[in-house]
Symmetry: C2
């Protein structure tokens, strides 16, 4: 214990890798031995490996490429795991996230947003000029193209641009993206003005704002048709051209609808799901259940994606026979798409634990630093018990942690993964 | 610009203080000059100073002490500002937060929670043993006392303990805390078992879970009465004993109800509001309006608390005449107690701007990295415009940022404040 406390660094006051590593170079901590302060964000090595393999098999079956959305984890160590598992590149949402990826060695980055803001544009142009860097940006308006073009001209660099398409004006969901033919023409005309500084390399879309499968298919088909048309027009300055889409909810539909154009050989289809690496037991469990129902390939790989991220926290108070207060709050776990759910319980000195949490235990509310846990009178629960919670929405859970612990099946910490939000 | 990009460090890829400072030792950045990547979290120096002065005057009027809840900002630089403005100490929520405060020189720390978890307990005992450290912890159960006592005995240190009271069982709101006389007696009995290792120093409560003024007054009076009774019994091992309560919504009522016992001289009343330093334009603006209505002292200090924290972000897309998409999302700003509100708008090259944002502009939804802004057809808004947003709930906004910028009234960055969540 003394060692551990002394080894807590000032930088985040939780874990310090430099000291006290075990035989294999990993910290000699076990979650069940009281070595780690709680709450802690814990990743299962076995499940992460399973999820990496699963997604690789899925993408390979369709002959597509994968650029996992790194905004989910913002953990360069996990980016590297994804690249090692065959990913084509890493997707990010902002110029700052692109800087993080680049600083950690990623050399093919897709920024799935139109870059705005003078410093953001400058940072993007600077990244594009790095030796060996392939950086792709999005544009959905002539104004956005002009901003990108001006900064690239000023800095004498060239940037790959994908035009973002939105669902058609008569479709229900939209966010960013070109909405009609006139909008697309305006972007194409503006891109020509910046030839030499901006290179039209493909088409990008995000279908995750839609909720109906038919709408998604219609949207993806339009994106593929637009890609085919621009390809025929000779509009793209990259061979193969890129067609990129897909979040974590509809990647199966996007794969089905884009596989034909990928087979043509003229288009590289790049899918961008980000949540599969940790998966979850809420939002994306539900989405994955839909995928397993509607897609023919997904069920063929044995066990589906597995929730690999849990928050471990401690029972702090038992104010009532039907209520426990757990030292875990909105600071520690996502709460915007379902509350965390008790998975396992551990009590120091009980060798037969951890045990599965009673199914009637239920988080009813979160405050900044506390969770309200509904229990039943007479339940075996004590102040100091450690509960591991499954989560819903990994993006907004990862971003609460500067370091996460990767553990083996015996709850030994085998790696500390750092995030850069 | 080049300088700035180069000076972005790998540690967070946003700002780096070590390089390129201006004449006064501050970074030579201006928010209006495109020096800073957006989104950015921006604190107004003038408003922070006003809020610090305001709260000091309020607390002094009642003859109380202030231990601002540091969990709001987790910014040691702001802790120091609060201590410089007369604060008695700093409150935190967890042992990790206590480590952060201690590592940055704070030597009177109140952990306003019962510590649980083996590593958390060990860290707390270690902090208590630091030279010159006055560390106060909470207990609300015999089990919690036993955990604290065991670790202090093992390490040969002594810890100051405050007993936490909860609202009575027949009152509506409760979280942690002793709920009745039997619970209180159990804690007192257990504390006696650990005499020499645990020192009963006072009473603590948190009234922020209550929503009715009458309930709050009743609860605070009971806490004061309990303190008086235990004082008469000679139960406290600290002179003066401590009575501590008050979040950011009811600190006026707590001040009114505890001022008499503070005047007795035997009890030091320590209030713990945390949000006043940044304040906000939502949750706490509403709470402050209530305080100004019901309290006689608050309105006497001229201008009330002022919202000092804004998120600056850039218009990314204009997909529709009635909708703008802004590059700011749940990753950047709190969304659990009201969405951010457009305050001012700036456009590069327009010397007469920033201007006040049109009052009909309204954030209707946030995604992880995007905001949906309702506008009106014909509004003067362009891709690249910079909007400063007022926020609601500073705690869950601060925790999204590793560094915040402090600016003067000309939007020059005069300090970079680091957080340690």
């Amino acid at each position: 214990m003394t060692f551990f406390i002394e080894s807590c660094a000032v930088d985040d006051h939780r874990y310090e890798l430099d000291k006290g590593v075990g035989a294999a170079g990993a910290p000699a901590w076990n979650l069940l031995a009281g070595d780690v302060p709680f709450p802690a964000a814990v990743l299962s090595e076995r499940r992460i490996r399973h999820n990496l393999d699963w997604m690789r098999a899925f993408i390979d079956t369709y002959g597509l490429s994968l650029a996992p959305h790194g905004k989910t984890t913002m953990a360069p160590r996990l980016f590297q795991r994804q690249l090692d598992a065959g990913a084509w590149g890493i997707t990010v949402a902002t110029s700052q996230q692109a800087r993080v990826a680049a600083a950690h060695g990623v050399r093919r980055i897709l920024i799935a947003n139109q870059i705005v803001g003078a410093a953001n544009l400058a940072a993007t142009a600077e990244l594009a000029a790095l030796p060996g860097m392939a950086l792709f940006c999005i544009a959905d308006s002539a104004a956005g193209v002009a901003l990108l073009g001006a900064v690239c001209r000023q800095r004498g660099t060239t940037l790959d641009v994908l035009i973002e398409l939105a669902p058609e004006p008569d479709q229900p969901g939209f966010r960013t993206g070109v909405r009609d033919a006139a909008g697309l023409d305006a972007v194409l005309v503006e891109l020509k003005r910046w030839r030499g500084h901006l290179r039209l390399s493909g088409i990008e879309f995000y279908e995750g704002v839609l909720s109906d499968e038919g709408d998604v298919r219609c949207f993806v088909r339009r994106a593929a048709a637009t890609t085919t048309r621009l390809l025929a027009d000779g509009s793209f300055e990259r061979t193969p051209a890129i067609l990129s889409g897909a979040g974590s909810a509809w990647y199966d539909v996007v794969a089905e609808e884009t596989a034909p154009i990928a087979r043509s050989g003229d288009v590289e289809v790049v899918l961008r799901p980000g949540c599969y690496i940790s998966h979850d037991d809420g939002l994306y469990r539900t989405a994955q259940e839909q995928i397993l129902k509607r897609n023919v390939v997904a069920p063929t790989f044995g066990e589906a994606l597995m929730p690999a991220l849990r928050i471990w926290a401690v029972v702090q108070s038992l104010p009532d026979a039907a209520r426990a207060i757990v030292a875990m709050g909105k600071r520690d776990v996502a709460f915007d798409a379902g509350l965390p759910r008790p998975a396992t319980v551990f009590r120091s000195g009980r060798d037969d634990w951890p045990v599965v949490a009673p199914p009637h235990w239920n988080v009813t509310a979160l405050m900044d630093q506390h969770a309200y846990l509904a229990i039943a009178p007479g339940d075996d629960i004590a102040v100091g018990d450690v509960i591991a919670f499954d989560i819903s929405h990994p993006c907004l859970t990862f971003d609460k942690w500067r370091k996460l612990l990767v553990v083996d099946d015996d709850y030994r910490c085998i790696e500390v993964v750092e995030t850069f939000f």
